[in-house]
């Protein structure tokens, strides 16, 4: 009986080990190759272990491109965009979930319809608008166009709906205004939902590619993804240098992910299946 309850699947385990190894292999290759010398790279048969563990390739990255600047740009922009987006979304979601106001249904449908339009459609006029407003190559220009709040608003809305109205009413009886109810009752009671939405928003901004590509000409304004794109031509495909840059971009994300695996998965299942 106990064998039936906890069956062992040797082939399943072997297969999964094999496929997990394939998934991780590129990262292992990157990790080792970031230390290789040009001679190691051109060696035949391929050299797996670098001949020395020196940080020359990393130094090369910093010499070729303002890597720290790209990193700082990406982190600052992602954080600011996430905070703004979640703040705007949470307020809107609260109003839609708990308040009564004219045109509510129409506005909600209007918001939902924005999800149908792919980025490439809006990006053409947005570039013109940004150019007219003098926002090309500015942080404001990079930020404003990324504040797509519809999806996070929907996500928070569906969560705020589950907060009992009695909780809101009780606070109202105690003399709270609606804004205070939002701040003191709703937000503290939705930490998971806010967390999930924030993680989703942060990852979207961290990976954002098309808009930063369009709106930046100045090298100093580039974000990490854009900086890495141009690094290929700027290094003439010196792979060991590319690997050092790639490693510095990937490892922090992987470390955070390993500690917050549950949250990452949750943000996928919540955002992925509810649209």
């Amino acid at each position: 009986m106990s064998k039936h309850l906890r069956p062992r699947y040797p082939f399943t385990t072997i297969f999964l080990f094999f496929s997990a190894a394939l998934m991780i292999f590129p990262f292992v290759w990157m990790l080792l190759s970031a230390f290789k010398t040009p001679a190691d790279v051109y060696n035949y048969p391929p050299k797996w272990i670098p001949s020395s563990f020196k940080f020359t390739n990393f130094a090369e990255v910093f010499k070729k491109i303002p890597f720290v600047r790209f990193y700082a740009n990406s982190i600052c922009l992602s954080v600011v965009e996430t905070v703004l987006q979640i703040w705007i979304s949470a307020m809107g979601a609260f109003a839609f979930a708990k308040l009564d106001f004219p045109l509510k249904k129409k506005l909600f449908a209007f918001m939902q319809s924005s999800l149908f339009v792919p980025e490439i459609v809006t990006v053409i006029p947005l570039f013109l608008l940004a150019a007219v407003a003098g926002l090309v190559d500015t942080y404001a220009g990079l930020i404003v166009a990324e504040l797509n709040c519809a999806f996070t608003t929907l996500l928070l809305f569906s969560f705020f709906q589950t907060i009992p109205n009695e909780l809101v009413d009780a606070a109202k009886v105690d003399g709270c205004g609606y804004f205070r109810v939002f701040l003191k009752i709703v937000l503290p009671n939705s930490k998971t939902a806010i967390g999930t939405a924030s993680l989703f928003a942060f990852l979207t901004h961290w990976r954002s590619y098309m808009w930063p590509l369009i709106i930046t000409n100045n090298v100093k304004m580039r974000t990490l993804p854009i900086g890495l794109k141009y690094l290929v031509t700027e290094t003439n495909s010196e792979y060991q240098v590319l690997m050092a840059a790639s490693l510095m971009a990937i490892v922090p994300v992987l470390v955070v992910y390993m500690f917050m695996e549950k949250e990452f998965v949750q943000s996928i299942t919540l955002t992925g299946l509810k649209t």
């Binding site: 998934m23 990262f27 299946l273």
Partner: protein, 302 residues
């Protein structure tokens, strides 16, 4: 007393409206600025000869749409996108379902397997595609060395029009597989144990439980994943742009979004780009509607 209550209700309504006005306004501003205004503008632009290099903004009727629909490059991009979508969907969905089924079993190292399969999803595409650029190098790439080791001839990967798009797809499957694994796994794990127990009590063996109970209940998740997969494939941009910045050999990796980007921003023909973007929107919209209609038959476990 009665009068008092009435004014109170009225006051509450007024207060709600006032609070809502304050709290919804920022959201509305972003929607108008980033959605309504751009959509109106893109429609207008598609009927003009709007260009980045000149100042002419003349009305040209349907000329842009006619240009796009008669442009061989557009149809090439369309064909490439369909090819990309077809291959990616079959391989990605099939593999993801298979791996999710395996991960659903009570096995050891499950957490490690899950983390490993999902890791490529979380890292930035531009960073991980640098690794694959090396993998695909015809001269010193490990993939060709592996092929030679197995006694197979070298491939040109991204540098041949026959294999360039397939190479991008392979990268794309590696990068995106974990996402669908997680969704399938969530679908499998949301099936209540009681359903499976009931089938077992009725004498079904594990294989039958899987085929007659689990798979049918997984149908809505699968249809959702397939539909979202199609829509997302039509929007692919980042990986093709990083791996083949010049649309690959003989433009073999030119996709719809890269075509639109090329028209609007590289060539500066924003009117044509806008028209092509609207065509793409209509295609995606049709698929979205199809998904909504099919999605109505949602299975509920409550």
């Amino acid at each position: 007393m009665k009068h008092n209550q009435a004014t109170k209700v009225y006051d509450l309504k007024k207060e709600q409206r006032r609070a809502a006005a304050v709290m919804v306004t920022p959201l509305l501003i972003t929607l108008v600025l980033l959605f309504l205004l751009p959509v109106v503008l893109v429609l207008i632009m598609s009927f003009t000869n709007w260009s980045m290099t000149t100042t002419s903004r003349a009305y040209v009727g349907f000329r842009n749409f006619l240009f796009v629909l008669n442009d061989g490059r557009f149809w090439k991009a369309f064909g490439n996108t369909l090819f990309y979508t077809g291959i990616k969907l079959v391989v990605d969905t099939g593999l993801a379902l298979f791996i999710a089924i395996l991960l659903d079993r009570k096995i050891r190292f499950r957490r490690f397997f899950r983390i490993a399969h999902f890791a490529p999803v979380v890292v930035p595409i531009t960073a991980s595609s640098l690794i694959w650029l090396w993998f695909y190098d015809p001269g010193i790439g490990p993939l060709n060395q592996l092929l030679n080791l197995l006694g197979l001839p070298s491939l040109q990967w991204l540098y041949s029009e026959k294999t360039a798009l397939l190479s991008v797809i392979l990268f794309s499957v590696w990068k995106g597989l974990g996402y669908n694994v997680i969704l399938f796994l969530a679908g499998l794990q949301s099936i209540p144990e009681s359903y499976l127990e009931a089938a077992r009590i009725d004498g079904a063996n594990e294989r039958q439980v899987f085929r007659k109970v689990k798979l049918p209940l997984l149908a809505p998740v699968t249809s959702f994943i397939v539909m979202m997969g199609i829509i997302n494939c039509f929007k692919v941009f980042t990986e093709v742009d990083v791996m083949t910045p010049n649309h690959g050999p003989l433009e073999s990796t030119l996709l719809l979004v890269t075509y639109i980007y090329d028209q609007s921003f590289t060539r500066g023909k924003m009117g044509r780009g806008a028209a092509a973007a609207i065509v793409l929107f209509l295609v995606i919209f049709a698929f979205t509607m199809l998904q909504r209609i099919l999605g109505r038959k949602e299975v509920s476990f409550e």
